[in-house]
Symmetry: C3
């Protein structure tokens, strides 16, 4: 599974400056502290700098500023984490599934499945589904009527695509992800709720990653849209008719209410809640556990996550805040 | 799949006031801005009013107050969203599954399945399960020993009903919902935890909708109860022995701790946390990302979700709050 | 399914002080208010004390302090909830699955499955998986290449173990749990994201319980670790390279960001968010809906969950807090 590659070749291939012998070979990646001869390691976060001086790695990917402290061969680059990511992909390549449908899968006759695609055990492919080149549908996935999956996309296991959903190329969807369930739409009728049919769909662009147990609802009328390059962590809830702009990254447990538009290249921290019908500009950062309850018009960093203190002190802080209100009235 | 229907017939059928020709026909619904001839649209939220004057819809469902600005045929009603919901259901009817068990489903002999019910591919129906008339169990669902599902209820796909759970009539359960897993009950034994058997069940009423990846735990001894007409969005967690009153609607990512009782017709915003052993009155509204840590005795609207500001300002606000505590001590 | 047992035998077996006749028998547990003759009940939370005096239970497990008010046979112990847990496990024993592979399961030839283990309908066991003695893999579970499951562990239904994950003995994993999906690791490359391969795994100790739809990501390089005796509720997200110390209990909807270490015997309330790269000491309590954004070095209780007030009052409190900032600048 793992290749061996010389440091010289890595330097050439990824445009790194080599300090030390180009002859040594590495076969796998490791953290600074766990590395052994044959390991390639990296230092991208100064928090882990103290591991550098004792590392037993054969080579370390570092910035020029940190190269000084590197006791072994250094591969120098302005962005060590990026270079590490590329080297790790080379040393630990993804296994590919064997093309074809597993005999236990239930595949509708009208499905158009490219001959290079694979459908795993106990997966269900309904009528008129389209699976592109090299698509991998893992065990237990359910791809419902008319859904379309672009080339090289992988549904790891137990992923649900509801009817009509489309997913672009080179995406990865993790186990338990549900794409295209009904949005939460009900009209009030004197104290009871009448369901509003959810007849839109979900359109997911290329190079999107969707984490385990994340849910993206189908649109009420128009579609819910996830643009190219978006990265969604686990357990995120995306409401109907949301649009998430290209290359935005969203951490776990975020909830986005219906009809909100998030800009491009945003970074949304874990546990954030975003209200409905808002517009968030491009290049906005929201730190963890904040509540976005109004549109954000300008790039920048926004917060409202309250950090913990000792419970006794917290109780007093809450009491003071309430008293402040009574005083000023 | 779609019917065509005249505006006159819609007006009669749903008690709407028609302003314009009753002859035109509509075949589908659309948003004001995406509508084309043949579309029926609606205006229920003044936020979208600007789309009204340029719409190409054949007809728009509006309130009397907005009818003035409608450039096409108007269908006038005090509750446009409700009328829209009903018309959309007529124009976009739900496809029904074919009765019978898919050959790939694993169905126990002792299960009592109505002849009009359907069990989809790769579903599991265990011993002594009961499925009522026209029940649809979608692909990959698992209905465990002795669970009961009432007439016209649909388990869309990959839904789990644990042993003994009961679900009423006309419910919809979305993919990944788990009903009846063990509640979180452990007794402390000198620093370790001893499991408390969770021997209650879950009873879900009629006309309940449960979103994707929502979880409802079984009771510790007595049952967890979800009353008629409750609507639960995605990724909600309902602890053991919770009761949710009739017609309450709960948005995504809410967590409700054990033994709490929520009243009828409540509306709980997204991301709310509700502590255990509380009682919440009927007709309570809780806005998004609030923490309910004490019982609420009176109807009304309650909040504690802190809205985002720029991160630098937020840091100062937190520091002031802490200083306030030190000052007043 | 249920045994009948005399109170005398219970007293002896669990070291309880019996006040009343040892002859009576009980067959099942019940809450104080729902109990009937033959029921064993308990009082562990003074909140429920008022149910004691009218109970129809045959016997009640109580503390010495509460025994006075018990109108029926009392089984007295310093920790009634613990004694109740043990008695309930005796009266309501877990049904065991029949050993062997269900014919509809898809089991790889190279999997090593103990003869006393069971694999349920429509489960998938991939190459080189190991299942220990009496392991139960429920319906729809997917155990991927090389994953290992220790003796007496039960995967209830539709659980996913990704490749290489290991789970210890006597664990319970509930439906929809996903163990070992890729961590959220991406390197920035001029406005787009490059995936960082997630090549670590997940190691779960003995006696761990994992709730429905909880997700635990595999490590980026080293492993994510859940130590012995940890109890995780539903819908929890555990990021890559997190370590959770032995006997820590975490309530529903908690999110833990990558590379954070949580100590032993901690109790984390529902909806808490914990930032990445932190260290939390042993014996820390964090109350519900708090945000832990810095390491916690000392045992104790920590909070930042803001309790709800009426929405109008809340709006004023937020305005005051902002004004405070403007005043002091």
């Amino acid at each position: 599974m793992q290749e061996e590659i010389s440091l010289g070749e890595l330097a050439v291939r990824f445009g790194l400056t080599l300090r030390g012998s180009p002859e040594h070979k590495v076969s796998h990646v490791a953290t600074l502290s766990q590395a052994t001869p044959g390991s390639l390691s990296f230092l991208a976060n100064s928090r882990y700098r103290k591991g550098l001086k004792d590392t037993r790695a054969s080579a370390v990917v570092v910035s020029a500023a940190e190269a000084e402290g590197c006791p072994v061969v250094a591969l120098i680059t302005p962005n060590p984490y990026l270079a590490y990511a590329r080297i790790a992909s080379l040393l630990h390549p993804q296994m590919r599934a064997t093309p074809g449908n597993h005999p236990s899968a239930v595949v509708a006759r009208s499905a158009r499945i490219h001959s290079s695609a694979s459908v795993g055990p106990l997966a269900v492919i309904e009528e008129e589904v389209e699976l592109g080149e090299r698509v991998e549908v893992g065990p237990g996935c359910i791809v419902q009527r008319g859904a379309r999956v672009g080339a090289d996309t992988r549904l790891i296991a137990r992923v649900n695509l509801y009817a009509g959903v489309s997913v672009g190329q080179r995406c990865i969807l993790h186990a338990g992800a549900v794409i295209g369930a009904d949005g939460f739409g009900f009209a009030s009728d004197r104290g009871t709720w009448v369901k509003v049919p959810q007849i839109g769909s979900v359109r997911i662009g290329d190079d999107v990653e969707i984490g385990a147990n994340t849910t993206i609802d189908r649109g009420a009328i128009d579609d819910t849209v996830v643009e190219n390059g978006v990265k969604l962590d686990n357990q995120i809830q995306v409401g109907h008719n949301v649009t998430i702009g290209a290359h935005t990254a969203i951490a776990g447990c975020v909830g986005i209410s219906g009809s909100t538009t998030i800009g491009r290249r945003c970074m949304i921290g874990g546990g954030v809640g975003i209200a409905g019908h808002l517009t968030i500009a491009d290049d906005v950062v929201v730190t963890g556990c904040s509540l976005v309850s109004a549109s954000i018009k300008h790039p920048g960093s926004y917060s409202s996550g309250m950090p913990t203190v000792e419970t006794r002190m917290w109780r007093r802080m809450v009491a003071h805040l309430r008293r402040l209100d009574r005083k000023e009235r």
